[in-house]
Symmetry: C2
Subunit: 160 residues, 2 copies
C-alpha cells in the first residue's frame, strides 16, 4: 500500500503555486528545476491536477500553471487523488462466496462486513485529507517562506 512517488511532487508543487502572487504562473520546466524533478513526467502529473480542477493551465509566452481556486478551497485530498485516483485500497473479491464454505447468494445481498469496515477506514483517511487545505499548509510554514519561494522561482528561466 504505497502512494505514487509523484504524490510528494504534486503536494509540493501545489503548495508552491499557492505562494505565487495573483495572476502569476509557473511552468512545468520551472517547477522541475525548482525541485530537481524529471520535467516531462512532472508535466504529466501537473496535467492530472488540471484535469482534477486543482490547477489551471494558461498558454502563451507568460503561460504556465496556477491554482484553479483560492488555496483555502483546495484540499490535500484533491491533490492526492488527482494522481492516485479514488479507488479503495482494499479489494473485496467476494471470497465469502467461493469454496466449501461459500455463502449462498441470498446471504450476500449486503456488502461483506469486512469490506464495510475497510471502507470506513478509507473514509477516515479521506476525511483527514479533505479537512486540510493548501491554506492550512501555508499557515504551517515560516512567514518568510512565500517571498523566498517566489524569488527562487522567478530566477528560473520559464522555458522551454
Amino acid at each position: 500500500m504505497k502512494l505514487p512517488t509523484s504524490t510528494e511532487w504534486v503536494l509540493h508543487c501545489a503548495t508552491t503555486l499557492a505562494q505565487l502572487e495573483a495572476g502569476e504562473t509557473a511552468s512545468a520546466a520551472q517547477l522541475a528545476t525548482y525541485y530537481d524533478l524529471p520535467a516531462p513526467y512532472l508535466a504529466k502529473q501537473l496535467q492530472a491536477l488540471v484535469r482534477a480542477g486543482v490547477l489551471t493551465a494558461t498558454t502563451g509566452p507568460r503561460g504556465g500553471f496556477r491554482l484553479a481556486r483560492p488555496a483555502a478551497e483546495v484540499t490535500l485530498l484533491e491533490v492526492v487523488e488527482a494522481v492516485r485516483g479514488a479507488s479503495q485500497p482494499y479489494e473485496c473479491r467476494e471470497i465469502r462466496q467461493q469454496g466449501a464454505g461459500a455463502l449462498p447468494p441470498q446471504d450476500c445481498r449486503d456488502t461483506c462486513i469486512l469490506a464495510v469496515k475497510m471502507a470506513e477506514a478509507h473514509d477516515a483517511w479521506r476525511a483527514a485529507l479533505a479537512g486540510e487545505s493548501l491554506a492550512d499548509v501555508l499557515a504551517g510554514i515560516p512567514a518568510t517562506a512565500p517571498e523566498r519561494t517566489r524569488t527562487k522561482l522567478r530566477a528560473i528561466r520559464p522555458g522551454p
Copy 2:
C-alpha cells in the same frame, strides 16, 4: 495504493477462527478448501498472523491455527498489518532539500509539514481499524453464522 490481495484472505480466516469453539483449531488446508484459496500461499499468510501474535499454531494430529487471544482483543489493524506491514503509504523523499529551490538543512530540522499531514491521515486510517475487533465483526453477522461456519469447516478433512 492497494492492499495485498491476501488482506481479504487473512481478514476472513481470522473471522472464521473467531467462530470456533474454545480449543478447536483449523489447518491451513482446511481454510484453503473453505475459501478455495491456494493452500501453500495461504499457509504463509497464516504464519505471518502467528508472528504478529494474532494466531497460535499448534502441532500434532489435531493441530492447526486458533486465535491467540479472545476475539474482542484482536483488532482488524493487527490482522491487516500482519500482511501489509506498518509502513507509511506516503514516502517523503525530502524534495524540499533538492533543486534550485532547495531549503537549507537548518530549515529542515522539523518534518516537512506535508509529510506530517499525510502521516496524520494514515493515523486516522489506523485508528479506525484499531477500533474494530474481530468480536465487532462477529456482532455484525447473522446469529446462525458461527454454527454454520463450524459445521462446514469440520466437514473438510484437516490434512495434509
